[in-house]
């Protein structure tokens, strides 16, 4: 047991490995599709059915009405010698084409209502998951299980900006997908953290706005395991197109196993944030975070790339006050490619990487940066 915990702790401390293990999932790309997907839930099927009913009704009306119009355009043209009649009123036909469409609408309202009732049937769920929209990622929390995590886009900036070839799952892959079991009714409680987002999984027929301060509910139940990809559908800022939703549906046994693993991870993480870290612990973790998130630009030796990415070794920021250094990571540097890491790294990771940068490569400031310092800075903003 102890050994297992140790192994888990190791995994936790090396996010790179965790990422590699959890992030192996990405979406199957769909074939070129023209119509609404039928999906894998009762709700998506209902939406598809009513969509098709409406489409056929519209098609029939359209063909009839415009068929007549094209006939008129052909038969009653002046060039064929047509002479204009002079009638301009007929109350009977007016009445007919008011009442008949109204009757059609009443008939259509019936399936439309039953379909909507299905959408709203959120009672008696087996599993409750809170979905929170962030700029620009999703957080999933399994209520009552103590498991929550962030799900972010995994596609690299290089792929987006054409510096690397685009992968098969371009913009449809995330670091950690939401996992749900087959055969269980899952209720999603959807809310927003900052601006309004909207959580959409077409194959579930679920689309709900994620409004800060407001909760709405949606549900899904499916028997078909697989990976389902959706999107954020409410404009939420520059990352709007870059926060896909990926849901993996697993058979129940696999799901339970996955959840148990997540719980152990979570318990270990909870113990890390409040604790006082030692100098060396921070150095170890900081180096890992640095290699994953910073070394791409600032280089592993901290020397940067002259004229493009500033060196951190001997830099005034790294040698100056701790708060100024934290500020760069939290706020980014306007007008440069140094973005804000406030949402991308945990307080522990930011503290660790700041600590590392202040004490590596001969930057011997000697102070210790704790997660609490980062929390305080965030508050002070």
């Amino acid at each position: 047991m102890l050994k297992r915990a140790q192994a888990l702790f190791l995994r936790l401390l090396s996010p790179a490995i965790a990422l590699a293990m959890a992030g192996g999932v990405s979406a199957e790309s769909t074939t070129r599709q023209l119509n609404m997907p039928q999906g894998v839930t009762e709700v998506s099927q209902a939406a598809y059915d009513i969509h098709m009913i409406m489409m056929w009704i519209c098609t029939v009306i359209g063909v009839a009405v415009f068929g007549f119009m094209f006939y008129v355009m052909y038969a009653h043209r002046k060039s064929r010698g047509a002479v204009a009649a002079n009638f301009h009123e007929n109350h009977v036909v007016e009445l007919i084409w008011t009442i008949v469409p109204a009757l059609i609408l009443i008939v259509m309202a019936i399936p439309a209502t039953t379909a909507l009732l299905k959408v709203y049937d959120t009672e008696n769920a087996d599993i409750d998951i809170k979905v929170t929209g962030y700029q620009w990622k999703w957080q999933y929390e399994y209520i009552g299980e103590g498991v929550k995590f962030m799900s972010e886009l995994r596609t690299s900036q290089d792929e987006i900006y054409g510096r690397a070839p685009k992968g098969e799952h371009y913009l449809r892959e995330v670091t950690q997908p939401l996992v749900i079991p087959t055969g269980k009714k899952v209720r999603f409680l959807i809310t927003g953290n900052d601006v309004i987002h909207s959580w959409w999984v077409p194959d579930f027929g679920v689309k709900r706005d994620a409004v800060p301060g407001l909760f709405t509910a949606a549900w899904a139940k499916t028997d078909v395991p697989g990976i389902y990809v959706g999107e954020c559908t409410e404009l939420c800022g520059i990352g709007h197109a870059f926060m896909p939703v990926v849901v993996e549906v697993k058979p129940e046994a696999e799901y339970n196993e996955w959840l148990a693993g997540k719980k152990e991870e979570a318990a270990l993480y909870a113990s890390t944030i409040g604790k006082e870290w030692t100098f060396d612990e921070l150095m170890v973790r900081g180096e890992e975070v640095y290699e994953r998130s910073c070394a791409g630009c600032h280089q592993s030796d901290g020397k940067g790339i002259a004229g493009v990415f500033p060196a951190l070794k001997d830099s005034p920021i790294a040698l100056g006050a701790k708060e100024g250094h934290i500020a760069v990571l939290i706020d980014g540097v306007a007008g440069t490619s140094m973005q804000s890491f406030a949402d991308q790294l945990s307080e522990v990771d930011i503290a660790a990487v700041v600590h590392y940068e202040r004490n590596a490569w001969g930057n011997d400031v000697g102070d210790v940066t704790q997660p609490l310092d980062v929390l305080n800075y965030k508050k002070n903003q």
């Binding site: 009672e123 929170t132 209520i143 009552g144 809310t191 800060p212 909760f215 965030k378 903003q381």
Partner: protein, 184 residues
């Protein structure tokens, strides 16, 4: 230009209509919307303090009440329910607590905004005491157990078996004039 003689009164009426619609948007629509929410239960903005009336406890029904806590934007507090779910009978008064800790080195003020799901349960979820009725000031490092006392109305629609109460905790330090230390 005798045709134009009618313009004055008409102009006055139309300008008045435009002005009235402007006032309508600012002063009527927001309260009207709140009223609409109260009636329909959107956002669980049901009511303020509920004065308990003695009703018979309906022991034949078990209602599961779930508690969810969310922190808005950059709110750095710890904030979570001490119990994530309780089973109550309609009509029974129950106390639960939420844990909050201000881990930062600064005095802060929070405000919790409640929501009840499903919407049609909002009218039947009564809070006799709730930390959401007030600002929550916390000194640097301070912890608090925030109390909620509620009663589920026996008239809760029969289709509802689970009620979810969620709180979103907002950081309102900057927008409030309350000094944290004064309140303590």
């Amino acid at each position: 230009m005798s045709v134009r003689s009618g313009n004055g009164p008409l102009l006055a009426k139309l300008v008045a209509l435009a002005a009235a619609m402007f006032m309508f948007a600012i002063f009527v629509l927001p309260p009207l919307y709140d009223l609409f929410c109260e009636i329909t239960g959107i956002g669980g903005k049901t009511d303020g303090v509920y004065t308990a009336v003695s009703v018979e406890v309906d022991t034949s029904r078990d209602i599961e009440v779930q508690f969810v806590a969310t922190k808005n934007a950059t709110m750095p507090w710890d904030f979570y329910p001490m119990e994530e779910r309780v089973i109550v009978h309609p009509g029974e008064s129950r106390e639960v607590t939420f844990y909050a800790q201000n881990r930062t080195g600064l005095d802060m003020v929070g405000q919790a905004i409640p929501n009840v799901l499903p919407n049609n349960a909002a009218d039947y979820f009564h809070k006799t005491e709730c930390f959401c009725f007030n600002n929550q000031p916390l000194l640097a490092g301070e912890t608090a157990e925030l109390v909620l006392v509620f009663i589920v109305d026996p008239d809760l629609p029969a289709s509802v078996n689970t009620v979810t109460l969620s709180y979103t905790m907002f950081d309102i330090t900057d927008r409030t004039t309350v000094q944290v230390s004064q309140v303590q």
